[in-house]
Symmetry: C2
Subunit: 383 residues, 2 copies
């Protein structure tokens, strides 16, 4: 096994911490918002059909694929039919499926999603990165696959605007490159004003979606949207990986969508998340005025910059039972003084307490720096 392959920093943190910790580290949705009762009802109905316990097709349940296709048509202005949807075991599985089917190098945004980077590394893919669209063109060719999170990017929280989307799609097509566009946060738009994916105007595109952030992640159901000729290439790979995504889980979502208005539920989540984000942002402004950030317009994170070594900061915080993510882990090979803070999976009380802990640690670090400076200054004076 490559020495490069280390377990992800975040997973290692999550393994260590327990209920005594305040965690801003993971990307866990607020489980109080799970439509538990509705899922229970959908599950009882799904289990009435014995087929829910039997093997099923690698492609995925047709009725569920039809409903997912309708999200694209009705909500994203992106005409799609059920043959253009492949069900995956969570969106994470899409990387492995797609990158076994196409033989390309990978180009990622910097910073980027850790789970994607891990998947690319396990597959021994050559990874390049870009931070500005203007520098991207030089990296693209017909042996490249660009990986983007277009909406409320993890970790940076930024989204591409309409002009950028046009520039990107033209650039990708001109270079005959592939695009993997990760739509994990597309529907977590606090204004419920969903943007059309870049993929719509890209010839060789894979758009990834998931029920994890908008319903519940524990069922592990996601999907790939691509044109039929590309889906055909993925089917055999998907089959070789796990035969198919759990039948019961697909039928639960299918039943859930039969009985409920998903987009009403999404509005409910977005309202809750926006309020929590604003509360955390207010705490940051109040307790850590030196923290430079913009309030995100969607997603699950606040991302910003501090004047210190944030890896060191995260390690000290962990000893004080607070978990945060130093942004260094989201870069290929670069130091960073940014941090990522998740606001969805803590209570209001935990958010305020956590930010206070962070503020105190920063004060201590500042005091220590000052004391080191004074010692050096004194010794210089004495010398």
């Amino acid at each position: 096994m490559s020495s490069k392959i280390k377990r992800s920093y975040i997973r290692e943190i999550l393994d260590v911490i327990d209920d005594d910790y305040i965690s801003f580290a993971g990307g866990l949705p607020n489980e109080e918002l799970f439509p538990k009762k509705q899922i229970q009802e959908a599950t009882v109905k799904a289990l009435e059909n014995t087929k829910s316990l039997q093997y099923s097709s690698s492609y995925g349940l047709e009725t569920l694929r039809k409903k997912i296709a309708s999200f694209y048509c009705d909500k994203l202005d992106f005409p799609t039919n059920e043959e253009e949807i492949l069900i995956t075991s969570g969106s994470q599985q899409a990387f492995d499926i797609i990158l076994k089917a196409i033989d390309t190098k990978i180009i990622v945004e910097e910073p980027s999603y850790l789970g994607a980077l891990a998947s690319f590394r396990v597959l021994n893919k050559k990874i390049n990165s870009f931070s500005k669209i203007s520098s991207l063109n030089a990296l693209l060719d017909n042996k490249s696959c660009l990986y983007l999170i277009s909406d409320f990017q993890n970790p940076s929280t930024s989204s591409y605007n309409c002009t950028q989307r046009q520039v990107l799609s033209k650039m990708i097509n001109k270079n005959c490159s592939f695009l993997i566009e990760d739509g994990a946060y597309t529907f977590l738009d606090f204004e419920n004003n969903f943007k059309t994916p870049i993929s719509k105007n890209v010839e060789k595109s894979f758009h990834l979606g998931s029920f994890s952030k908008i319903v519940a992640p524990g069922l592990r159901v996601g999907w790939i949207r691509a044109k039929k000729s590309l889906i055909d290439k993925l089917l055999f790979i998907k089959e070789s990986l796990d035969l198919h995504t759990a039948t019961l889980n697909q039928m639960i979502f299918d039943e859930y969508l039969n009985r409920n208005n998903l987009f009403e539920h999404i509005e409910f989540i977005n309202a809750n998340y926006q309020e929590k984000m604003n509360f955390m942002a207010d705490c940051l402004v109040k307790y850590i005025p030196s923290f430079k950030f913009e309030r995100p317009k969607g997603g699950m994170f606040i991302y910003g910059k501090l004047n210190c070594d944030t890896m060191n900061l995260a390690n000290i915080a962990l000893k004080q039972k607070l978990a945060i993510v130093p942004a260094e882990v989201f870069y290929l090979n670069k130091k960073s003084n940014e941090i990522r803070l998740n606001f969805t999976n803590s209570t209001y009380g935990e958010i305020e307490d956590g930010i206070k802990i962070l503020a105190n640690i920063l004060k201590e670090i500042k005091k220590e720096k000052r004391s080191i400076f004074l010692t050096i200054f004194d010794s210089l004076k004495a010398g």
Copy 2:
């Protein structure tokens, strides 16, 4: 994508056929035997805990891993603790996880399981095969991984006896090779007299297990049993593939095992399968006396030999709405006049009807051969 990568013959058949067909092709368990009511109860209980819908650990649920470890201790005489079990999304996923962690060529039995072969091919692994244990030693070294199904092999239905298991474990250790031992059918022993896995005495071994054949496959929960130091190498790979196996599905099995005696259920399945196997065997003896086979002592298939081109036979049968599998697909690159017949997923009526259809096709083929022979004979006489 490699041109070698074609969708599996069996999946293609399964895509074509509908309820009008009699299918001896798949490896589907009898869904009438699923403990549906017990799974419904376990699911209701599991869903009471909101954690069932949340992300969970890549390792898998600890309480479930403990129960699986106890199967090894109590039923297979193979001391195992929960740290030696990694939960997978079906047993199929184990191939991908393990073979990304170890860089070896693969040695398979011939014939072998199609799903494993597909996985090895997608990973571009070099595959060698052996048909006799005596020829295996020359193929093994410390860059080899041997893949075996020790009990009621798919498709051949044969098992290794105690002496062979000893010879194999010594041979594998001596060559410092890896072993992947597939236990998919281990508990489908009609005498409920489960054999200790070869893995017990192999230093670098992975033993694969699954709930698919003994409870229900639609939930996609399997596992890898290996020593802790090997499991540690697999964790990061598992995480990169799908983060973790569906939380709910793990909790359903955990609850199911809390409330039910799994091995009583297994005895019930085995009694049913043995009866069905004997019925199909009796039909074969009666209608196709030329079919050479041995009655299997476990598993889900009857395997045997005919005096004809069985790929041609299977294609003719498919036109008459009967699906069987010509054994050619189970070999790396070899013709075969064997066929595999699944008996678990058809009714008694379908079994008799299907064997009669097969018998009639064989008579037609024989008549045709005879008529061609006579035509040639006549023309020779005339000449």
